[in-house]
Symmetry: C2
Subunit: 86 residues, 2 copies
């Protein structure tokens, strides 16, 4: 299962559609964001995805955690949000 | 139960302590943030609070939603994150 990577410029509706699709198929999604702008877009996308999935009677919850990722030899702290049906 | 309001300048450990305290007492907390900086601080605080509460064997999950709030005659969209034990 691929991680859904969100940037500050990501379109929230596109990210939300990706989250909903992965949840429908795999019953679990992982969303990763680095920086305040990206985290904000990720959260907005999660609100939208929650609405999309409610029409399928799937109620999702989020569990955020820190992850260290390496980008061009530098270690940065990202926020990974695990999304699962309740 | 009071809403825990988070700003871009909030200390994440202080917010995390507040979330953990409210969850222990009320089994439910609400965290509100407006703007990318505030949402980012709120998410980081939630990661920390998740760790604090794991030592009490409480596993929390988050459900984000949009709320419209009025600040000085202007309506702004905030993100409210409902926090509950799994």
């Amino acid at each position: 299962m691929d991680i859904i990577k969100v940037s500050a410029n990501s379109r929230t509706s596109a990210v939300a559609g990706a989250i909903a699709g992965v949840i429908r198929e795999h019953k679990r999604a992982e969303v990763q964001a680095i920086g305040a702008g990206a985290v904000n877009q990720a959260l907005k996308a999660l609100v939208l995805a929650t609405g999309y999935l409610k029409t399928d009677e799937i109620n999702i919850v989020c569990i955020p955690e820190f992850v260290e990722i390496q980008i061009e030899d530098k270690v940065r702290t990202a926020i990974k949000i695990v999304v699962e049906p309740r």
